[in-house]
Symmetry: C2
Subunit: 220 residues, 2 copies
DNA sequence: ACTTTTATTTTGACTCTTCAAAGTAGCGTG
DNA sequence: CACGCTACTTTGAAGAGTCAAAATAAAAGT
């Protein structure tokens, strides 16, 4: 069995390789895993020996087939656990990431399958992050953001990219959660602001930076 | 935070001190934790330095107040998780111990409280083991067993002491689960056998040894 | 091209948990 | 009381994961 550390390294290589040339830098990993760079080099060398990653010294690292399989299984656990914590235990979606960070290493495949069934085989977690299937397939659909989509149109929130507790609380406060429908009233590049009108409630204004963290889908 | 190993040691000291003079032997711990005795000595010395146990060299170990508090919290997690796995996820009660052995170290107090509420604040787990309260109280009621209780009377099963998968499967097969009512037909000390008649179904015969693993309460 | 900056790797050390094997204390039996 | 068995402790070594700090390679500036 893979240790906790191994699972965390692989999962973060997977997450960081989303939308890059596929090569993940040691520095990025060190930052994400909150360890010093030397530690990453050491661990990656070990993972390469195990055939879980391919390391190109001084350039970066990518997952092998086996490594990717393992990483996807950890990510599936993480996101299904988050979904359980929010949908069943009614926990705040800004807190579940931390919990899942531990639980993802303690859950067996059998428990996971039952959790999946209990939740109705969800395709995404509470943040809109896609949940890998048991077979290791993960949706990689490309969406626009509130900073880039067409204005004066209705859109549906599909995913929140920035998942710091603060940002998630801000989003929740304005009911900007996956599934929420809203109208993009205006976007002012000069001022760097976007104005939104939710289906119900008052208008919301936010910076382009914040708007870029919210993925949306054109509606109707 | 206490590491996984520390939590396991403390939990097993607690479990093994049930019904002894309070002193747990190194050998018993080594057996329960599946490590060699020397390892236990080393670890216990460390725990004593941390003020979690009191070690009397060559005699045994007992929990301090702090150690007991921690051990009870781990045990509470273990048993609530088992209850969740059986009651909500419908897992086989012979498999949940292993799962809980991992999950007990990954669950936060907040998740635990919500789980507790979801389950309706159960007093016992699926095996009839008492669940410590959040305040660290644990019921220590004394029950008879099918090997010792009065014959020709109705009794209710309250707890299964032997929790190997095989024994639990045997018990389940005969519906000998906490809550089950049955009539103690006969006990033959010479043959070392006990005969039972469940409320519904055919009579069950089992050895005194097996019967001694099943705690019961006189009914009505 | 030469120099400075930045990213990565290497080295040596440390903590935690474990084992194998050798040493020791305590006990009961004769 | 001495012997020998058993339980316990000690010692030395190992693997996993980490950090601090020094060394090196690559990239960026001048
Ligand atoms: Mn994790
Ligand atoms: Mn998520
Ligand atoms: Mn455990
Ligand atoms: Mn139990």
């Amino acid at each position: 069995m893979a240790t906790m550390a191994v699972e965390n390294y692989l999962k973060h290589v997977l997450l960081l390789s989303e939308g890059g040339d596929g090569l993940v830098s040691m520095g990025a990993l060190a930052g994400a895993l909150e360890v010093v760079p030397g530690t990453v080099t050491t661990m990656i060398k070990a993972l390469a020996d195990e055939g879980l990653v391919e390391h190109q010294p001084r350039h970066g690292v990518r997952l092998t087939h086996d490594g990717r399989r393992l990483a996807l299984s950890v990510l599936r656990k993480h996101r299904l656990v988050e979904t359980f914590l929010v949908n069943v235990l009614k926990m705040d979606w800004s807190k579940v990431h931390e919990e899942a960070e531990q639980l993802e290493h303690a859950i067996s495949d059998e428990v996971l399958d039952r959790l999946d069934a209990l939740l109705g085989h969800p395709a995404t977690d509470p943040h809109g992050d896609p949940i890998p299937t048991r077979q290791g397939k993960i949706s990689s659909q490309v969406y626009g953001t509130l900073a880039t989509c067409v204005v004066e149109r209705d859109v549906r929130v599909v995913r929140i990219l920035e998942q710091s507790p603060e940002f998630l609380q801000f989003a929740e406060h304005h009911r900007l959660q996956p599934g929420a429908m809203l109208h993009v009233v205006d976007r002012n590049l000069t001022a760097g602001m976007v104005t939104l009108k939710p289906g119900t409630g008052r208008a919301i204004a936010m910076s382009l930076t914040a708007a870029g963290k919210i993925l949306v889908q054109p509606e109707r």
